[in-house]
C-alpha cells in the first residue's frame, strides 16, 4: 500500500512535467496542424539556458526559469518566422522535414557549442533536497517542477478559456478560415502559438535542471514521451495533454514496479498504439 502511494505520487509528479512538455506541442499542433519535431530540442535549449544562468549568473536553478522561458519563446518565434512560415505554402511533408531538420540542427549545433558533456546543477533551494509530507519522502525538486508545471498549465488554460487572445487562438485552431473572417490575424496566432510552445518547453527545461542532467542529446530522452503524451491526449487538446501526461507518468512507474523496468517504455508505446488504433483522435481529441 505504501509502495503504491509512494510510486503513484512520483508518477503524478513526473506526469505533470510531461504534461507541460506536451502542452506546447499540442497548442502548436492545434493551431496549425504542424508537428514540431524540434520540441525536445527546445526543451534541451531551455535546460541549457537554465543551467548557464545557474552556472554563470546566479547559483540557483530556479532563477533560470524565467530566463529559459524567454529563450524558449525567442526560439519559438525565430523557428516560426525563419523556417515554419516559409514551409506553410508547401506540402505538409515539407513541414515535417523542416522541423525534423531543425531538430537535427539544434541538437548537433548544441553538441558543437556546448560539447558532449553532461552538466548538472549541484546546489539550490530544492536541489537534492527531501520534502517529508505525512510520512512520505518526496524529491523537493520534483515537487517544485510538478507544481510549476501545474501552475503554468493552469495559466495557459485560463488564458485560452478566458481571454480574447485565448479565444482567438482557439478559434484559429478550430477553423482557421472562419477565424480570419472574424478579423483574427491567423498568421499572428501561429506566431503566438510558437512563442507559447517555446516558452513552456523552455521553462519545463529549467525546472528539470533541478534534478536532471543537461546534455545536447537530452531532448531525445523526452521527445518520444512527449509525442506519445500529445497523441494519447488528443492532438490539439489542452486538457487531454494534462490527463495523458499524468497517465503516462503513472504507467511508467507502475510498469517498472509491477512488470519490469525494461518494459516501461514498451508499455507506454503499446498503450499509445492501442489508443491510435481504437481511438485515433486520442482520449480528448476533437472530432
Amino acid at each position: 500500500m505504501d509502495v503504491v502511494l509512494d510510486i503513484g505520487i512520483s508518477g503524478v509528479l513526473m506526469g505533470l512535467v510531461y504534461a507541460l512538455l506536451a502542452l506546447g506541442l499540442t497548442v502548436i499542433f492545434g493551431i496549425m496542424d504542424t508537428v514540431n519535431f524540434a520540441h525536445g530540442e527546445f526543451l534541451m535549449l531551455g535546460m541549457y539556458a537554465g543551467y548557464l544562468t545557474y552556472a554563470y549568473l546566479y547559483p540557483e536553478p530556479l532563477a533560470g526559469v524565467p530566463v529559459a522561458g524567454l529563450v524558449g519563446m525567442l526560439l519559438g518565434v525565430l523557428a516560426y518566422t525563419l523556417l515554419v512560415k516559409r514551409l506553410l505554402s508547401g506540402p505538409p511533408i515539407a513541414q515535417i522535414f523542416g522541423t525534423f531538420g531543425l531538430m537535427l540542427f539544434l541538437r548537433y549545433g548544441a553538441l558543437a557549442v556546448f560539447g558532449p558533456n553532461l552538466r548538472s546543477a549541484t546546489q539550490g533551494l530544492v536541489v537534492a533536497k527531501r520534502l517529508v509530507v505525512g510520512g512520505l519522502t518526496l524529491d523537493a525538486a520534483k515537487v517544485v517542477a510538478a507544481a510549476g508545471s501545474a501552475f503554468l498549465f493552469g495559466l495557459v488554460y485560463l488564458m485560452l478559456r478566458r481571454t480574447k487572445l485565448g479565444l482567438a487562438l482557439q478559434a484559429t485552431a478550430a477553423n482557421r478560415e472562419a477565424a480570419r473572417y472574424m478579423g483574427i490575424d491567423t498568421d499572428r496566432m501561429n506566431l503566438i502559438g510558437w512563442a507559447l510552445g517555446g516558452a513552456t518547453a523552455g521553462m519545463a527545461g529549467a525546472l528539470l535542471v533541478n534534478f536532471y542532467y543537461v546534455s545536447p542529446t537530452v531532448g531525445m530522452v523526452f521527445s518520444m514521451i512527449t509525442f506519445t503524451t500529445v497523441a494519447l491526449g488528443g492532438f490539439g487538446s489542452v486538457p487531454g495533454a494534462l490527463i495523458a501526461g499524468i497517465l503516462v507518468g503513472l504507467i511508467e512507474v507502475f510498469t517498472a514496479q509491477v512488470i519490469s523496468p525494461q518494459l516501461k517504455l514498451a508499455v507506454i508505446y503499446t498503450v499509445f498504439f492501442l489508443v491510435v488504433l481504437f481511438r485515433p483522435r486520442g482520449l480528448l481529441g476533437a472530432r
Partner: protein, 444 residues
C-alpha cells in the same frame, strides 16, 4: 588537344610525386611500422584521440632516451629505438575505423598490403577488433590488442591475436575478489566483515549488450560460484527520463550490495534518486562506464563518498608505482590531463610490442609470433599493478590472454578539508592508496 596533353602531363607529374613520396619511408628503412586502427571519427572520436595520445607518448619513450624514466628502472626509456634491430624506430601508422567493423577490416588490409606494416594494434570496439583479427589471421600479421574487453576475442583460437589487458570477466572476477577479500579481512583498513553483511546482491544493468554481458556474468557465473545471492536482477530502460520506480524497487529488494552497469546519464540519475531515498546498502559498485566519467563526479561530488568503481587504470597508482607517476607527469606536461584509462591501455600495448620486437630481433612475422608467445615482461616495467605481461590461458578454451592482467577498483572518497573528491585505489589490495570506507556510509 593541347589541353588534353597538358592534363596528361599534370596527372603524370602528380602520380610520379605520389610514387616518390610513397617510397620515401621504405627507402629510409630504419623504422618498424605498426598499424593502429582506432575510431578516430564518428561518435567515439574523443575516445579515439585519447587512445592515440597514449600510443604516441609510449612510442616516443621507446624511440628516444628518457633518462629520468630509465633511472626509475623503465627499460624501454633507455632505448633509442629497438636495440636488437639496430635502433630502428617504431613508426605508428594510424587508420580510422569510424567505429565500423567493415571499415576496420578494410583498413587492416590496406595497412598490411599497401603500407607493409609488421604488426597491428587496436581497434577499441570489440566488434571492430574481431574483424581486424580475422584479417590479421589470414595474412599472418600479429595483432596485439590492449583496448577491447569482450571475453570471446581470446577464445576463438586465433594464432595471430594477443591481448594485454583484462577482459570483462576478469573485471567481474575482481569485484568478487574484493567482496571475498572483505570477508577474509584483506581489504585495506577494514577488519574482516561477516559474509551476511554483503551476501545479498542487487544487479542493476541497462538493457543493452553492455549491461546484460555484465549482468549475466555476475548472476549466472560468479554469484553462484562464490556463494552470493542475487535478490534483484534489474534490466532497466537506458536513458530513462525517470528512475524513481526502479530505485524504489532496488531499495525494497533489501539487497546489501548494489552493482551497476550504466552509462553516465543513468548513473547520475540512479545515485541522485538513491540519495534522496536515503538508501543505505553496505556497498555500491559500478562497472566503469558512467561511474568513471568526469561528468558523474561533477554532478554528484561529495555524494559519491564510498561509491566504488572498476577501472583499468587509476592515476593514483603513481603513489605506489613511481614509474606510473613519472609517466603520468610526462603525459600531463604534453597533454594537460592525467593519464586516462584509454591512454594507459595503448601505452601497455606499445610496451608489449617494443619488447616483442626486441626479443625477436627481426620483423619476420614468424619470429614475432614466437616472441609474443614467449613474451614475459616483469611487473616492475608496467604502469599497472600487475605481475607482468605473459600470454596464456586462465580458463578453458582461452588463448593468448595476458594471464596477469587485472583491473583496479577505485573508491570515491570525499576529503572535507580540501572539499575535493578523489578516486582512491582499494583493489588490488597490495596497490591500495587509501583505507577503504566500509560499510557505505549512506547519504545523510
Amino acid at each position: 588537344m593541347l589541353r588534353v596533353r597538358r592534363w596528361i602531363r599534370t596527372i603524370a607529374a602528380v602520380l610520379g610525386l605520389i610514387v616518390f613520396v610513397g617510397t620515401l619511408p621504405s627507402a629510409a628503412q630504419e623504422t618498424v611500422k605498426i598499424g593502429v586502427i582506432l575510431p578516430l571519427s564518428g561518435p567515439l572520436a574523443p575516445t579515439g584521440q585519447e587512445l592515440r595520445r597514449g600510443y604516441e607518448l609510449m612510442v616516443d619513450i621507446v624511440n628516444n632516451v628518457y633518462p629520468e624514466l630509465a633511472a626509475l628502472g623503465l627499460e624501454v626509456a633507455g632505448w633509442n629505438g629497438i636495440p636488437s634491430l639496430g635502433g630502428a624506430k617504431i613508426e605508428p601508422i594510424f587508420a580510422d575505423s569510424r567505429g565500423e567493423p567493415a571499415v576496420g577490416a578494410d583498413m587492416a588490409r590496406r595497412l598490411i598490403l599497401e603500407q607493409g606494416v609488421v604488426g597491428l594494434m587496436g581497434a577499441y570496439q570489440s566488434s571492430v577488433t574481431q574483424t581486424v583479427a580475422t584479417v590479421a589471421e589470414r595474412h599472418g600479421i600479429p595483432l596485439v590488442n590492449s583496448d577491447s574487453s569482450s571475453p570471446t576475442l581470446t577464445t576463438l583460437g586465433y594464432e595471430w591475436f594477443w591481448r594485454v589487458t583484462p577482459h570483462d570477466m576478469i573485471f567481474d572476477d575482481d569485484l568478487f575478489n574484493l567482496l571475498d577479500g572483505l570477508v577474509e579481512g584483506k581489504a585495506p583498513g577494514v577488519p574482516a566483515v561477516p559474509k551476511d553483511s554483503i551476501r545479498r546482491l542487487a544487479v542493476v544493468v541497462e538493457n543493452t549488450e553492455f549491461g546484460s554481458a555484465t549482468g549475466n556474468d555476475i548472476v549466472n557465473r560468479l554469484a553462484p560460484e562464490r556463494g552470493y545471492e542475487v535478490v534483484e536482477y534489474m534490466r532497466y530502460q537506458a536513458n530513462s527520463p525517470d528512475l524513481t520506480s526502479e530505485t524504489a524497487r532496488l531499495v525494497n529488494s533489501g539487497a546489501d550490495v548494489y552493482l551497476f552497469a550504466s552509462y553516465v546519464s543513468d548513473a547520475i540519475l540512479f545515485m541522485r534518486t538513491l540519495a534522496l531515498r536515503g538508501a543505505k546498502p553496505t556497498l555500491i559498485w559500478g562497472q566503469n562506464a558512467g561511474f568513471t566519467n568526469p561528468d558523474f563526479v561533477q554532478a554528484l561530488g561529495p555524494a559519491l563518498h564510498g561509491v566504488l568503481t572498476r577501472s583499468l587504470f587509476i592515476a593514483k597508482i603513481g603513489e605506489v608505482r613511481p614509474i606510473a607517476a613519472a609517466i603520468n607527469e610526462l603525459y600531463r606536461q604534453r597533454y594537460g590531463t592525467n593519464l586516462s584509462e584509454e591512454s594507459a591501455r595503448e601505452m601497455l600495448g606499445v610496451l608489449a610490442w617494443a619488447h616483442a620486437l626486441n626479443n625477436a630481433g627481426s620483423t619476420n612475422p614468424r619470429a614475432l609470433q614466437r616472441a609474443l608467445n614467449e613474451l614475459d615482461i616483469p611487473g616492475d616495467q608496467l604502469i599497472t599493478p600487475w605481475q607482468g605481461i605473459k600470454f596464456g590461458s586462465r580458463r578453458p578454451g582461452e588463448k593468448n590472454q595476458n594471464i596477469y592482467a587485472t583491473g583496479m577498483i577505485g573508491q570515491y572518497q570525499y576529503n572535507p578539508e580540501t572539499g575535493g573528491v578523489t578516486l582512491e585505489i582499494v583493489y588490488p589490495f597490495e596497490a591500495a592508496t587509501a583505507d577503504m570506507v566500509f560499510p557505505f556510509p549512506g547519504w545523510d
